[in-house]
């Protein structure tokens, strides 16, 4: 069994290695016809750009995106410099250079990778999946009888911020940087999943399709790990199945199929303000121009945020969204589960959390207000501030860096819920409902707590669960996503997630259950 695990690890690392090398491999040769198509599709009028590309790029062989991409970005900057100087504003190119490079790379890729998509898919995704499963599946036997399996978590380099943890950190951060800021380097990855994308939406894959596909694959494989680790705990089994279902069906399949049906791309479970660009002008216009289905999505999106989400939080707590439905939560609960113990439990971290997450909520609300004002008044500015500038800042700082690079990249260092805890504006909104008007609580079982600290250690949201449990108090915290792990790891059966009457939900206790001091004496003394 151990041998299978080790072989699996090697296979996985080979797959991962090839995948990681792909961005710098591959050959590209842009032919005249494809070039002309791009020029006319993109409506490029800059003869500076066209001439430079014709002499530098068209018909030439390039080995690796790192040789092609600089030529394109140079051509764009040369062109824009010249046109700015000559005040030829209509000739300026507003397409980002990495998007242009990605577009050219995609059409001009030839050679081994482009001609052997299936084989290279197998050598990357295939080996990764097989290796990972070979690493994970033997745990059915190796982990022994069912029960809590946290032995050695703080002895392992991977889960104790050791060198493996830091390597994973570097890999994840780099991956997100490529994805958000240098998507041309994802070109070869997009080639591998072209057949899948074409089968679903009919279009070749872009880098976001690669991301969506990977997301599903990673979640599925790591869900297998969850099923094995928590096989004694039916709550965890159900919850894992639920997030997996919503990711694959709602976030991945339905939007792609909708594109095939000439409908707008839309994830029906992705609620504003997590879905921060829902009210952006381009999206509203797109929805309105899409007839019945567009209007339906528009209404659904508003109803989801204003009615469905808070009502569900009232009945079930925000867990119904954050740890049963949400994609960010889904990745955190599968890929991120081995890192849940790294969330900071200090009071200081809690303070930072409250400032940050509510600041993001205010930011998104203000930005959306400006967006809607601009949309209805058709003015680009509000009080002299350019709406699009605010939108761009939010997209960059919050949407890309916070949610992506930090949110997932920092898993091995700061735990698996960095984004959900410190940044997600939807979580902040749901948190208000959960804290002030909800039936959900984690009940503390009388006086049974022995202050061991397993609950706090494994709380991914950094809640000091023990601080409440040892006082006999129920845990009512806006940040709790109801993952249920505190209850699972408790050795004394102290914690239970439940939905019950609001009355008595918050229960401050002077003297814990079991200590029969005369309460009238106590009261009279005060």
């Amino acid at each position: 069994m151990k041998a299978i695990k080790h072989i699996g690890l090697v296979i996985f690392l080979i797959g991962l290695g090839i995948f990681t090398a792909l961005p710098l491999l591959g050959t590209f040769n842009l032919n005249e016809t494809d070039f002309n198509t791009i020029i006319s599709n993109q409506n490029i009028k800059s003869e500076v750009f066209i001439n430079e590309l014709k002499s530098e790029v068209v018909g030439k062989d390039f080995n690796g995106m790192q040789t092609l991409s600089p030529k394109i970005s140079k051509a764009i900057s040369n062109a824009n410099e010249a046109h700015t100087k000559n005040k030829e504003w209509d000739k300026k190119i507003y397409t980002k250079s990495s998007d242009m490079a990605a577009m050219i790379g995609k059409t001009s890729a030839n050679g081994f990778i482009a001609n052997n998509k299936g084989l290279v898919w197998f050598l990357t995704f295939g080996l990764g999946i097989i290796g990972a499963l070979m690493f994970i599946l033997p745990n059915v036997i190796l982990l022994g009888a069912k029960g809590i399996k946290n032995d050695g978590i703080y002895h392992e380099s991977a889960t104790n911020r050791g060198w493996i943890g830091w390597m994973v950190f570097i890999f994840l951060v780099s991956f997100y940087l490529v994805l958000y800021f240098a998507s041309e380097y994802a070109t070869n990855w997009t080639l591998l999943v072209d057949p899948i994308s074409e089968a679903l939406s009919g279009n070749p894959a872009g880098h976001w399709f690669v991301y969506g596909f990977m997301y599903c694959v990673v979640m599925t494989v790591m869900a297998v790990r969850m099923y094995i680790k928590y096989r004694h705990n039916i709550y965890q089994v159900f919850r894992t199945t639920s997030v997996l279902f919503f990711q694959i069906v709602f976030a991945f399949l339905i939007p792609e199929i909708m594109v095939r049906l000439q409908m707008p791309y839309y994830d029906f479970k992705n609620a504003f303000p997590l879905d921060y660009d829902f009210f952006f002008q381009w999206n509203l216009k797109n929805l309105i121009n899409n007839g019945g289905i567009g209007i339906f999505i528009l209404v659904w999106g508003i109803v989801l945020t204003l009615i469905i989400v808070p009502v569900m939080v009232y009945f079930f707590g925000k867990r119904w969204y954050c740890s049963w439905v949400c994609g960010c939560g889904g990745l955190a609960e599968t890929l991120g589960d081995p890192y849940r113990q790294h969330s900071d439990k200090s009071l200081f971290a809690w303070k930072v959390e409250r400032y940050l997450i509510h600041a993001v909520l205010v930011f998104v609300v203000v930005m959306t207000g400006m967006t809607l004002y601009s949309f209805f008044t058709e003015s680009g500015t509000v009080l002299g501030i350019q709406t699009s500038t605010v939108q761009n800042i939010y997209s960059l700082i919050i949407g890309s860096i916070f949610a992506g690079v930090i949110g997932t990249g920092f898993y091995p260092i700061f735990g698996n819920r960095v984004w959900c805890r410190f940044g997600c504006p939807l979580a902040a909104y749901l948190g208000f409902v959960q804290r002030f008007k909800s039936r959900f609580r984690i009940t503390t079982n009388g006086g049974q707590c022995i202050s061991c600290g397993n609950c706090s250690t494994y709380c991914e949201q950094g809640i000091d669960v023990r601080a409440y449990a040892q006082k006999g108090e129920n845990i009512i915290r806006s940040s709790c996503v109801g993952c249920g792990i505190c209850s699972a790891v408790c050795p004394r059966g102290v914690l239970k997630l439940e939905n019950g009457p609001e009355k008595g939900r918050i229960n401050p206790t002077e003297i814990l259950l079991g200590n029969d001091v005369d309460l009238m004496d106590l009261v009279n003394q005060k």
């Binding site: 022994g144 009888a145 069912k146 029960g147 809590i148 946290n150 032995d151 050695g152 978590i153 703080y154 002895h155 392992e156 004694h232 705990n233 039916i234 709550y235 159900f238 200090s346 009071l347 009940t443 079982n445 009388g446 006086g447 049974q448 022995i450 202050s451 061991c452 600290g453 397993n454 706090s456 250690t457 023990r466 601080a467 040892q470 249920g484 209850s487 699972a488 790891v489 050795p491 004394r492 059966g493 239970k496 997630l497 439940e498 019950g500 009457p501 009355k503 008595g504 003297i511 814990l512 259950l513 079991g514 200590n515 029969d516 001091v517 005369d518 004496d521 106590l522 003394q525």
Partner: protein
Amino acid sequence: MEHIVIIGNGISGVTLARHIRKLSDKKITIVSAETDYFFSRTALMYVYMGHMKFEHTQPYENWFWKKNRIELKKGYIKTVETKSKTLHFADGDTLQYDKLVIATGSKPNKFGWPGQDLNGVLGMYHKQDLENLEKLAPSKEVCKRAVIVGGGLIGIELAEMLNSRKIPVTFLVRESSFWNGVLPEGESQMINEHIKHHHIDLRLSTNLKEIKSDENGNVKSVIIEETSEELTCNVVGLTAGVSPNIDFIKDSEIETGRGVKVNRFLETNIPDVYAIGDCAEQHEAIGNRRPIEAVWYTGRMMGETLAQTICGNRIAYKPGHWFNSAKFLDIEYQTYGWVHGSKGRPDYEQHFHWKHPKEDICITVAFHKDTNEFLGINTFGIRMRHEIFDRWLTEKRDVNHVMSYLKDANFDPEFYKAYESDIIKQFNTEFNTNLTTHKKSWKRIFSKA
């Protein structure tokens, strides 16, 4: 300002200090020789097993003490002079108090076995024991076998700890079945099986004769009393219970028995000196409880109670209905009220035992043979709601009521399979009753008695 000095920074002393601070402005000093800060002793096992780091066992952040004006002093107290109200430290330092609270907890028992002080022999109680174990048994390569002597809750925890690092364990238990002084036969048997299932070499009805040393004074092997068998091992864990850690006051005027003798108000024979927690010994046991209770929550409750007394509201220590919990490897155990093992079981106590046909899940309900009054419940693998059983015991409900409303008491996580109908079916067959289970009702759960 009155100066309260608490010796011991365990759960009793710290709970006391916190509650005195809530109620007053008195000067508070906590003295400990073990650690700088309060930690949860019950969690030491998880540090060795790699579930946590030591810092996670500390329930309060380090700034907490200063913020709450609770002074911490690290030092070992050698003698207590009650006439002049002075504490003498081993390093020559002294400390004056106005009120003194002894909350020094326990220390592992040693019964005079030959070789019990060798290098490689340890208890599992103090932080130092954990550090020692980490040195002596870091891996199965260094520690080829460990022998544990004494089949109580600490014994099985130590077995689980060593097992987590794949160190072979031989577990010597004096009793004929694990913990059968406390557990009824069926449950004790189930735990025996569970221990063996984890590849722990459980030896029942087996006593330690001596621990043998190699030429360097390290443990080499143990000899078993009954068979004279010699077991080669590197580590010996002595977990045959604990006793009050009060050697330093033996020469003072404070009355001691096994522990520090206290009345119901937790006062010793000397004015302004109190004792709480594991080291306190009641003159007369309270109800079915033992005079010395080495239980986490009783220490906490004594701290809560004594804080009232010290702050001018003199009240007696009145622990309510007995309850407790533990975990035997993978099996969680909870108990509410009294369910006796074969030893010390009163004649009137009748048992109803239900066990899952396949899983390690079972319950034992104790009730009065003649009156049917519900006396207590043991549950294994099912979590139960403390509040409900506490109420049923106060209301002196009969066993039929408990059986019918068992769903109100279930505390398992959501979606778990429930066994109330299986349980009641067997109960009906055994006792010729015709009970039905009632649906869980939030109204009943939250109605105060």
